[in-house]
Every structure is written in C-alpha cells, then in structure tokens.
C-alpha cells in the first residue's frame, strides 16, 4: 500500500515519538531536565538485543524485560536528582549518558564497538513482523504510551508531579514526597524509553553504542522543546516533524545536528513554550480562531 521507505520513516517517527513522550513525563511533568535520555533508549535496546541473540529469548518476553529493566535502572539513575537540583542534574544526566555508551563500547559482554548483530524480527504464530506489520507494532506501543501520558496527567500522581516541578518545598508541605515522585517519574520515563529501545533494536537488526550517544539525547530534547514541553500534542508533533524532515529533505539531512542544535537555540530565544505548547504564539492563535467559530 505504502512505499517501503515511507513505512520506515513512519516506524522511526513512532519510536522517536515514544522517546519524546517519555522524556516529557520526566521533564514536562516532573520538571527534571535530562540530557541523557538516549541512555534509557540504549539500555532497552541492549537488553532486548542481548536476550534474543545470546539467550535465545523470543521478542515478546525480551520486549517486556526491556521495559522492566530500563524502568528499574531509570529509578536507580534518578537517585542523583534527589541530591542535586536543576543545572547540576542536567550535568549529571549528561555524564550518565557518556558512562552508558562507554560501558556498551568497552565491555565485551555488550559486544564492544562492533555492537550486536543478527537481532531477530519479532514473530508470532509464524507471522514475522516486518514492514507494515512492524509499523503496526510501533503504533500500538505509541498508542499505549499516549494513553499512559493522558491517564497519568489526570491522576493524583500527575498532579503531584506538576507540584514537584513547580516548587519542591511547597510540594512537601502539601504532603507530597518529592523524592518518591521524582523516582516514579524516572521509572516511568525510563520504562517507556526502554520499550522504544527494544523496538528500535529489532527494527534495525543490529545496534551500535553510538546509536545511543549524547547527540541522540539532544535530538530527543530538541524535538520536545520544538513541539512544546509539557504537552502531549507538542511531543508528538516535534518527534514526527523533526524525524521525518531530515529524511525527506536531503539538504536538511546532511546538516541534521545543526538543525537540532539550531532549533534548541532559536526556540529558547523566541518560543520557549514550543510551536504548539501552552501559551505559545501559534497555540494562542489556534485557540482564538477556534473560539471565534
């Protein structure tokens, strides 16, 4: 029905949309800025890749294990956020990303610089998930992620996360354990990104440490900032637009990191709330226009 190339791009957009949405839970909801989100992505990818290639697990339990393990590691890696605030946390998460890539690269168990190859495609009852079928899998996981984000934003826990983001002392006097809810955010965010990592590994068939390097964390952050931090629609738009654009426009593709970096700078200067975030210029216009009709 669609061209193979188009499907590939949609698959990548879907995976990056989950990454952006999961970063949004951490940064947009709980206010913990992370420059190391690609580390979670990588942990998920490596977990699934190792389990299926070295221990002959099938994709499905390996996928679940990626989510669980990355969630647990996420909670553990969130511990620095209990001791340091804001700018120092940004530096700490950046460090974590470099350490993670270092481990993937230099520890033989993780395949070293040669990465892990021959990662099998998921299959169920003889059906192999590739092409459109793999896209369907990604879209189901994206739908689940979207539902979870929306669900969380309407629960007491979601309100507690917003309180933690807004003012930690005030959150405490409202009976909210700031430490506990920060760790919750790291666990949920990590778990979702871990699932995305698993899908990515099985889509590519081979993974290398540099797939999950610091630059990728910047890409994910700039997608979120571009769309609008704190909003589900912003995260979704940012991921789809900024993932698809460099693929389609060759010119942009050659300079993609310039694009992502430039977007961060320009958005911070002119539209810190993102293209369609709350209170952004465009979103206000859209709301005004909808209101008039």
């Amino acid at each position: 029905m669609f061209g193979q190339y188009f499907i590939t791009i949609l698959i990548l957009c879907g995976i990056w949309a989950v990454l952006t949405l999961s970063l949004n839970i951490l940064t947009g909801y709980a206010g913990q800025v992370s420059l190391g989100h690609a580390a979670f992505f990588g942990i998920g990818a490596y977990t699934s890749a190792l389990l299926t290639t070295r221990y002959s697990w099938s994709f499905w339990p390996a996928f679940l294990a990626s989510i669980i393990i990355t969630g647990l590691v996420g909670g553990f890696l969130g511990l620095p956020s209990l001791r340091v605030r804001h700018d120092f946390l940004v530096l700490a998460t950046m460090g974590i990303n470099f350490v993670m890539v270092g481990i993937f690269k230099y520890v033989d168990f993780f395949g070293g610089a040669m990465g892990i190859i021959n990662i099998p495609k998921p299959s169920l009852w003889g059906i192999v998930f590739r092409g459109e079928k793999f896209l369907l899998l990604v879209l189901v996981y994206l739908a689940f992620t979207l539902w979870l984000c929306y669900y969380l934003s309407r629960r007491w826990a979601g309100l507690a996360l917003r309180a933690v983001k807004s003012d930690e002392d005030a959150a405490e006097v409202c009976g909210i354990s700031v430490a506990r809810f920060k760790i919750y955010a790291f666990i949920i965010s990590g778990a979702l990104a871990g699932g995305a990592g698993s899908l990515y590994a099985h889509f590519l068939g081979s993974i290398f440490p540099d797939h999950f390097a610091f630059a990728e964390s910047i890409v994910i952050l700039s997608m979120l900032v571009f769309g609008g931090i704190g909003t589900i629609r912003g995260a979704l738009l940012g991921a789809f637009l900024l993932k698809a654009l460099p693929e389609y426009l060759r010119v942009v593709g050659d300079y993609r990191y310039t694009l992502y970096g430039g977007i961060l700078v320009l958005m911070m200067l002119f539209q810190p709330m993102g293209i369609i975030g709350d209170k952004s210029w465009l979103w206000e216009k859209i709301n005004a226009w909808l209101g008039r009709r």
Binding site: A157, A160, E172, I176
Partner: protein, 252 residues
Amino acid sequence: MKPILRTEKLSKHFGGLRAVDRVDIEVRPGEILGLIGPNGAGKTTIFNLISGFLRPTSGKIFFKEQRIDNLRPHVIAAMGVGRTFQIVKPFSDMSVLENVLAALGHPFYPELKAFTASYYSPAARKEAEEILEKTMLARYAGARAGDLPIGIKRQLEIARALALKPSLLLLDEPAAGLVHEELEQLAKLIGQLNSEGITIILVEHNMPFAMGLCQRIVVLAHGQVIAEGKPEEIRKDPKVIEAYLGHSAREG
C-alpha cells in the same frame, strides 16, 4: 491540658551561629501563639525545624506527644501540621483550585491509589471549592496562581494549608505586604479558623496585628526565648522593649 506541640532544648547552629539556642516552647491546643522578635531572632528557623525542612543540631520536637524532629516535611504535613511561607510559594502554573487540590491529595500520595484515582473527581472538587469559599478565594478559582497579587497569594497559602485538615497551623508573616482592608480580612480569617479548633502559631513583624490576635506571645532574640506571656505583659516587659521595640524604634 497536654501541649499540642512542645520543643525541648531545641537548637540549630549554622557554623558558629546559634540561630536557635536551647528553645523550650509549649503550644496549648486551641490557642493562637505569637512568635515575635527582631530580624535574625530565629523565628523562621524554628518554623523550618518544626515542619521538618531543617534537622535540629540538638533538642527534640514533639507533636501530640510524638517525636517529629526526625521526620520528612511531607510526613509532618500529612500528620496535620500546615504551614505557609514568608516568601510565598504558590504552584504558579496551576490554577488556584488546583493549588488546593494538590494539598487535598495528601492521603493518596503515599499509596498506590495516587496512580489509580483521578483528581478530577466531583468530591475532591467540592471540597476544594469549600476551602476556597472559606478563604474568600472562590472568585479566583480558575485563575493562574502565579498571576495573583501578593495578598491573594498569601491567602492561597493558607487555603492550601487548610486542605491538610491541620490541627496546627504555622503562619509565617501572613500580614507582610498586605494593605489595610486585607489585614482586617486576614485577622478575621485567622480568628475564624482558631474558633473552629485549629491551633495557630503566628510569626509576625506587624506588632499591632500580632498583639490583637494572639492570646500568648513568645519573644525571641538571638535564638533564645527572652520573654513569654500575654500581649499586655509583653508590651510592658523591659527586656522586650530593649531587645525588640527599642531596636525597631531606632530603626523606624
């Protein structure tokens, strides 16, 4: 009657500075106790110790006979000790109603139901609206908290603390920056909360305001209690006049 709150030789040192120095305070259930003293006397430090934001260097704090000086602020809050901040800390990006809801959720946060129960429930909303009604904030319910003038923000701090259903309320300079009508309204509100059975400790710089409201006053200077008694006794106490009123008279 047993005190609702009691400190025992409570001390907090910052390096060489004795911000709070062997302070014994007893707060009787149902009273409005004033905590006054010149700048740097240790009033806010005592609030931070009681509410768990600081650990004492030595000494103990008991709330309803239970030791609380080793507990985290959110635990103390959930036990029913509400507090406001001298420098207001509203959740700026939330509406006034959501600010109150955030504190109304305190029974949910330690449990799994924080993830299963929706805060968009009519019951929670009704409760929050009642608190806004009582604190005269009903017409600001939908407003963004960060956009409010300082007087309304101070009222919101009280509203948020009330959502904990506190038995003890710590008010840190609630009158600061308020104009005349707002002061009257605040005094009325504090009086009303007290008549409903809430014990209140009031840190205040505005002397007429504190003298008019408090049944008993503790005067601090350099981290120590220098006087204690009814407002009219405090007013005549030579030590207080020297340490506090004399000081502020020279200032003014």
